[in-house]
Point group: none
Chain length 200, copies 4
């Protein structure tokens, strides 16, 4: 009996995660504000009613997708930042490459943008997303500082430089709308060189 309760909780959690992932895909396809519960249900291969078994409302889902995305991003950048086997530029390179490679990042970036820029969305959520974004600059900021100390990254307030780096990547990501990509090549090395300190 106790085992079943545990198992049920586990199952419920897993299904929630599944729906969140499917919601992200649905958002990637239709855009945050056009996505319908129907789309999320279809993508998750469950009924519309069932979505409401796991989430209170559509807003609730969007909130959770944003949270999940930001948390995963934090783990992703933190792991790279703390990896002592890589030098600073390689860390930025890695972040840039993986970030621009992941298809889901587009949807996730769009989502965060929408959440933040949509006045109809409850202030608390916008606040939270903003706060998390700011906190998520820290690992990048640490990499920048480290690079500046060993002379491989350009000088400048680390947090500000991190902000530019992230904005640049997000700006590029937003241009990569599936089906409507800007037809200009993106070269990770070129991007990294913007932040690299030339040595002679």
């Amino acid at each position: 009996m106790a085992r079943n309760i545990e198992k049920d909780k586990q199952m419920r959690w897993e299904r929630k995660q599944h729906i969140l992932e499917c919601a992200l895909h649905a958002i990637a396809k239709k855009g945050v504000s056009s996505v319908e519960i129907k789309d999320i249900a279809r993508e998750s291969k469950i009924s519309v009613g069932s979505v409401y078994t796991y989430f209170k409302s559509k807003d609730d889902i969007l909130k959770e997708v944003a949270r999940k995305g930001q948390e995963e991003y934090r783990v992703f950048t933190k792991n790279i930042a703390e990896n002592s086997d890589m030098n600073s530029l390689d860390k930025l390179r890695e972040i840039c490459t993986i970030w621009l490679d992941l298809k889901s990042n587009w949807a996730y970036t769009i989502l965060l943008q929408s959440v933040r820029s949509n006045e109809t969305i409850h202030g608390e959520l916008r606040d939270t997303v903003t706060r998390r974004f700011t906190r998520n600059l820290e690992p990048i900021s640490a990499i920048i500082r480290e690079g500046q100390e060993n002379g491989t990254i350009k000088s400048g307030v680390p947090l500000e430089v991190a902000f530019y780096f992230v904005s640049l990547i997000q700006g590029l990501t937003l241009q990569r709308v599936p089906g409507y990509e800007i037809p200009v090549n993106i070269d990770v090395e070129g991007i990294i060189q913007l932040f690299a300190q030339k040595t002679h």
Copy 2:
């Protein structure tokens, strides 16, 4: 008589422009897909019905706002690019400063963003916006090329570097949600230095 017809046409054109500006503000406040015709009417201080006297549909308005914004942007960057009184870095500086200063740019950037990423919006519009965005990279690209030739800007495919420059500025712009700004300072000089060629 002919004069009156001319005058009427002129009036009509002016009112359309007024509505477009107000629509941009309304969009900036509520997001492209949440904005209602009622919002645009209220912002323009006219009635809902009158909006339809000047525009065929909501989609029509979005299309026009996007077109107007992108055209003004093209004129803005082109003028700076062709100004022979400024050096290349100063041109970038000027674009960066003015762009980040203008409040309406935030709304306009959001709008383009939303138009391109919103699947419910007619493909033709998304196509047009994308094409114009690409073409609008040209003046910036020209500045980059010029700067590379006189050794003040870093090397790299000019169009790609221009793409990074614009993406960076747009990425930063999107973070500046009125009331929910990321609390990190933006220093134009720091941004320009990313693209500047160090001389010894």
Copy 3:
């Protein structure tokens, strides 16, 4: 122009009243909690969407119907209470007769009951309805006091007796469900005699 604005306001007010009356009929037919916006729209001979032009929500309509009903009841009893051409028992007789005759009173009584007994309804509304009910006892209470003073009505705390009188009438009203009436005759004179002071 000023005339039109006035006229518009007047029209709007009249249509609201019309919808409220139709809503009361719809409620009378289907019961408070089963009544749908569709029913109210049909009864008012307007579209569902139009109902929302005049009222914010279904709850808003119920609230207004309750308010309107209680206000009309207050005017009704006050007018009778203050009529110096009738003696006290005639006043009670009149109230009783008219109240039990009016078909809409059934719906209205049901509505007030539902509002008060339904826990899902916002406390503020329940509070207001309760307060108004209490205040509306006053005219009846005045009649009772007057009758006691001239020896035609039984003794007892006037407000309490008024409460019994109103509860009795409301209790009877509630039994008169259209189509499911309790097959027992209601004799106004018999009811009045319960409250009358026998003289010898």
Copy 4:
């Protein structure tokens, strides 16, 4: 074996009764039409699915709650009516006191009210409830007749007077919404005096 079957039947009956009582509480809290199977399950401390093990449908539960309540009421009034140790007025007094004291009566009265006035409820049930209500007037009617014969109760058609008595008590009961009571004292003696025949 046979004994087990008996025991099972007994258990099943007891659980049904338990659910019915809990359903009454749930209905009292949320109103007949707002009450959800979930509420009844929660109140009964069993699962939603289990409710359906004992009852065919929500309607079935409502029907049973109403039947149970009306039957208990019949037994209650019949016992008092037939009690030869009490005089007629004492009998009314007893009914009045106990009825107004019992908290569950409020819920039960609301329930009957709602069942009868709710058009979405099956006509057969509404019919049955109405018929039982009428039949349940008989014991009260008998008390009235008895009182009239010994000169302690006012004259009038006994069934009609009984109808007024019950309506008055039910009317008062309905005003006593937990937490939203009408702030007027209820004095059983005052009520009884309305029906008492003054002797000189």
